[in-house]
Each structure stands twice: as structure tokens, then as C-alpha cells.
Subunit: 340 residues, 2 copies
């Protein structure tokens, strides 16, 4: 779809280009009614502010945009570290944005980055993102796009992921082979694909080993960046099942660490009374007591690979070479420590 111009909008509404421009910039001397009309049409016509016309750009901006759900998380800060180092090595700069798991904000940030004329965009989607028009817009504007970690399968762009289902399957299989039978799962939000896949891997491992899947052993932790959530879920698990549970597989390390804190406090012995395996092998996993078994996602490698793919697509674009999108799966690794 060819991007609309200010002129297109002005023509269709029968108002001046200046008024359209002012309306989009929220000037006080344009009525709210006009602003509403202009914005609605701009949205329909896939208008991106500023004259970002394809083919008219004469040179690279030497910047890339990166949108992540949150910065204050060991996984993402490591990914950003890798992306910035990769950018640095090519004299590129990184504009970093946090969606704070907010879909509307993510959408706005995509517009800002397109408006800024970045040469490429890397995104790890917010947990709330279920509509991908903003991603399609990036593709329509021929700006190289790479999705990583939290991706939208349907989008026609490169994607860098881990095999969440397999990683979860391996972790739970490890627990089963160690003799654990009543294995709970602290799962993440219902929406994101990686949370779904980890749950499915957990379930499949149980079924493949002839262990009954008990939905009552699955706890939804939708505020999954918060370790008090793990603490509270552990308390709830003990209340609900007491002795009739012997292990937990958590969707992330923070939940596991919260749970460990609860068990330490209540002098419930790990791994004798309850074993744990986390996910993402956060730095803390190795220094908490007892140390936490976890799945290493190789965050640095994910950031590095995503950036390399993006820069390759940017190079291809500027050289006029056709791009073949890639889907790369970064291997995970089960790290066994004292918690199981």
C-alpha cells in the first residue's frame, strides 16, 4: 500500500494541507472535530508523519530502532548490550524504546521510528500485542524489520527465537527422570507465544511419560516480571497441594527465585521437599541459595544474531539486492544446579 501524503488527506477532507499538518501536530488552533477527522483518515490511509517517502531517501540514517518490553530485566539488558555492540562495530546508533508491555505505546513508537527515518527496526513484542498492523506498516514502508524473542508468527519478516516448547519439554523431562511426579507449572500470561509454548512443552513432557496432566497444578502468573508473584504462588501451591507436589517448573527465573524465598522462609527443603527449574538463566540463578537450575536462552547471542540479520537486510536494501527472510532458532541449554 502506497503511503498517504498530507495532500491526500487534505484533498479527501477538503481542507488545507496546513490544517492537516497542524491537526496531526495537535495545534490548539484546530478544532477537536477536525483533529478527529484528520487522525481517523490518517490512520485509515496508513499515513506516517513527516515526509518519509520511499526511494527519495538519499542516504542511510545510520540509526536503528529497537523496541523491547522492558529494560530492567537481565535478559533484555543483555540483548540490548549485544545489539548496541553490533551497531557500534558498524558505526550505527541505536534508538532504544520500551513499550512497557503496552500495545498502544508500541504502536506509537513504531510511528516515531518510521518518522525518524531509521534504517531498520528490531522488536520484541509486548505481551499485549495481538494486532500487527503496525508491523505491517514497517514492511509496507520497506524498512527492514527483525522480530526477536516475542514474535508474531504471521509476519513476513525475519524472526529470531528459541524453541520454547523443546526447552520446557527438556526441563520437565529432566525432572521426571530424576523421579519427580507431581510437577507444578508457574506459567506466564496467556497471550505471548513463548508463554504458551513453555506451557505446551511442560504438558507434552508429562503426557509422553505417562504422567497425568493436572490443570490444578498450573498457576497463572500474569505479572511475570515480579518476584513477589512467585512468592505468593508458592504459598498458594503449598496451601492447595501441601505434600502432594514435588517440583515446580517456572516460566521465568524471577518466579522461581520468589518461590525459593518462600520455601527458605518456611524451611521447606529444596530439592528434597520441592525441586525447581526456572527459565532464562538470569545471573541471579547462580548466586541464590540454593542455586537455581534454569534454561539458558543465550540472550547475548540472540541480540547479536538479530542485529546481524537486520544489518544484512539493511545492506541488501541499500544495494538493491533482494532479501530472503530468515527464521533462526537459538539453541537453549539446561543448566543443572542445586535446586533439583
Amino acid at each position: 500500500m502506497k503511503p498517504a501524503t498530507l495532500k491526500d488527506i487534505a484533498k479527501q477532507l477538503g481542507i488545507s494541507i496546513t490544517t492537516v499538518s497542524k491537526a496531526l501536530k495537535n495545534y490548539p488552533d484546530v478544532s477537536e472535530k477536525t483533529k478527529f477527522k484528520v487522525r481517523t483518515l490518517a490512520e485509515q490511509l496508513n499515513y506516517v508523519p513527516n515526509s518519509f517517502a520511499i526511494g527519495l531517501r538519499k542516504q542511510e540514517s545510520k540509526t536503528i530502532g529497537v523496541i523491547i518490553p522492558t529494560m530492567v530485566h537481565y535478559f533484555f539488558s543483555t540483548v540490548i548490550d549485544a545489539i548496541l555492540k553490533e551497531a557500534e562495530s558498524r558505526n550505527y546508533m541505536g534508538i532504544i524504546m520500551q513499550s512497557n508491555e503496552d500495545y498502544e505505546l508500541e504502536k506509537k513508537q513504531v510511528d516515531l521510528l518510521l518518522n525518524k527515518g531509521v534504517d531498520g527496526i528490531l522488536i520484541s513484542l509486548s505481551n499485549k500485542t495481538r494486532d500487527f498492523k503496525h508491523l505491517q506498516k514497517i514492511i509496507d514502508y520497506h524498512v527492514p524489520l527483525v522480530l526477536f524473542d516475542k514474535i508474531a508468527k504471521v509476519m513476513d519478516c525475519s524472526k529470531i527465537v528459541i524453541d520454547d516448547r523443546k526447552a520446557a519439554y527438556d526441563a520437565v523431562t529432566y525432572l521426571i527422570n530424576k523421579g519427580y511426579r507431581r510437577i507444578a507449572h508457574f506459567r506466564g500470561d496467556l497471550n505471548p507465544q513463548n508463554s504458551i509454548d513453555r506451557f505446551l512443552g511442560y504438558k507434552k513432557a508429562l503426557l509422553d511419560h505417562n504422567i497425568e496432566f493436572d490443570p490444578k497444578l498450573v498457576y497463572l502468573c500474569d505479572n511475570n516480571s515480579d518476584f513477589t508473584d512467585g512468592y505468593n504462588s508458592a504459598a498458594k501451591l503449598m496451601h492447595d497441594h501441601g505434600d502432594n507436589v514435588d517440583a515446580i517448573f517456572t516460566v521465568n527465573d524471577l518466579l522461581a527465585i520468589g518461590a525459593i524465598n518462600y520455601f527458605n522462609e518456611k524451611q521447606i527443603k529444596i530439592p528434597d521437599q520441592i525441586a525447581l527449574i526456572g527459565f532464562s538463566n538470569w545471573f541471579m540463578a547462580s548466586v541464590i541459595s540454593p542455586s537455581l537450575s534454569s534454561i539458558d536462552q543465550h540472550a547475548y547471542k540472540m541480540g547479536e544474531t538479530s542485529a546481524k540479520i537486520l544489518f544484512n537486510e539493511i545492506d541488501c536494501k541499500f544495494k538493491g539486492i533482494p532479501v530472503k527472510h530468515e527464521k533462526i532458532t537459538i539453541d537453549t541449554e539446561l543448566i543443572i544446579r542445586d535446586s533439583c
Copy 2:
């Protein structure tokens, strides 16, 4: 000092502007000798690539540049979180760069940001930065500059810091009041001001309480982002002083956590045999076992305040209002937990 132009350089060297431009861009068709001459003169004349002419800019770029030593650190990722949220609220974007504690890289990044035409720059200096010409260049170009956490006292710009000396003094005084007498210090690199100030606060607390300062109890941990450094220093401390030491004040939490790991492993009881206080109140401090007493630096507030000051200076600049530089000290807070 008025920034030099390509023309100035070309004139002085008696070559064409095109050649100067090509030399600075490292084009292959310019001889190495010419490139060297051009670069040397450009450096002398304080030249910044691209036509970033003061007063010629017609509008804000709506971006700010941020240079930090490292991203993978709870303190800095929290600061960045705050800066980006503050920027977001003003429809600004943040270009984030990591110096990786490398002065040459930091210098280059300043040039890139000036070249990019950012509206303002926030920097926390690398531990290796002892020369501030690159900061002076920012000031010469009338680009608002705010230094935070790791600052250069001599620069004429706004600075946001904590009172490291007082914070360290309070922590060590707390230990003394609790009855500890042989207090070791795991100190940071010799160069950065905050590492010096924390050491001086430690020393002053001892002297003010008539406790002999024993330089043998001070361990230099120059690789201070690494928790194995804390582990190894704890081992060395036990080897050197055995029972003749009863507490440690560490320049950061990572060192303290490394030390706790060593003591847990050797079944040396905390706080009975040895007490600890860390610095920066990293998230992990509250979840390690035993939990670590630490000094909260209010990272979020530091990021938020730094960004607010910067945006205020940007506003003033664009409105032509004179700016009064500020020096703000963010209060710290001693958080007492189980380690002392």
C-alpha cells in the same frame, strides 16, 4: 571556540573541500598521508563532522543521546528505564550508547551524537576517562549536557550525583555502632570519583570513631562489575586476616554477593563471624541468602532527575532563556538486612 568547517581545514591544508570530506569519511581514493593530515588538523580545530552549525538548526531533533559505561547492570538499566520514560512523556527518543569503560569509545560516541544533531546529551563517564576535552566540545557546541553518577567536577554543566562519601560514612558508622571494629573495605578502581569518595567516607568513619585505619584491610577490586572478584577477595581476606576481621564494606553489591557466596561455601557465618554492607541496593540484595544490607542510590530518581534537568536546559535553549547549571545530590538510604 568556534567550530571549524570543512572549508577551514581545506584552506589551511591547500586541498579541496571534497578531499577533506572524503578523508574524514575514510574513502579509499584518498592517500593515508592526506587522511592523517586532515584528521590531525580536524582534531586541533575541534571539528565535528557534518554541518552542525549553531543557530542554523531550525528545529529540535527530538532525540537525546545517553552514554553509560554499561547496560548489563541493575543500576544503569534502571537509570536508562527512567530516562526513556521521561523522554517518552515528551515525545523524545533516546539514543543509548555504552562506552564499555573505554575512554576512546566514549570520545567517539560524543562525536557521533554531535554529528547526529541530538538536542542534549546525558553521560555517566567511563572509569578510564581522565581527560574532558570531548565534554568541553559538547559545551562549545551549545548542546545541553548533564553528567550523572560518574561525573567530572571541573566541567561547567549540570551534574546529578549522590553523596558517596556521606553514604559510605553512614554505612561504616552503622557497623561501628553495632560493635564491629576490624572493618575491611573492598574498594573500586582507583580513578573514578565515586570509588575514591566511598573509600574516603569509610576511612573517615573509622578515624572519627578512634578506630585505627589499617591499609592492609583495603582490597582493590578493579574489575568491579564481576562478582567472582568479590568471591576471590573474600578468600584473600580470610587468608590474610582470618579471625582478625569482623566486617566488610564493599564498593558495590556484586562484590558483596560474591563474598557472601564464598562465606556460605566455607560455612563462615554471616553476620556472626563476618558482617557485610554493600552499595547500590541492587535488586538481588534483598533475595540473596542472607539478605544483604546496602545503600540505596535511588537509580530511578537519578535517571528521572537527570533527564528532567536536561529537558529543562533544552527548553531554555530553544526559547533563548539563559540556563543556570545545577548540581543536585540525590539522597541515599541505608537499608539494613540480615548481613549485619
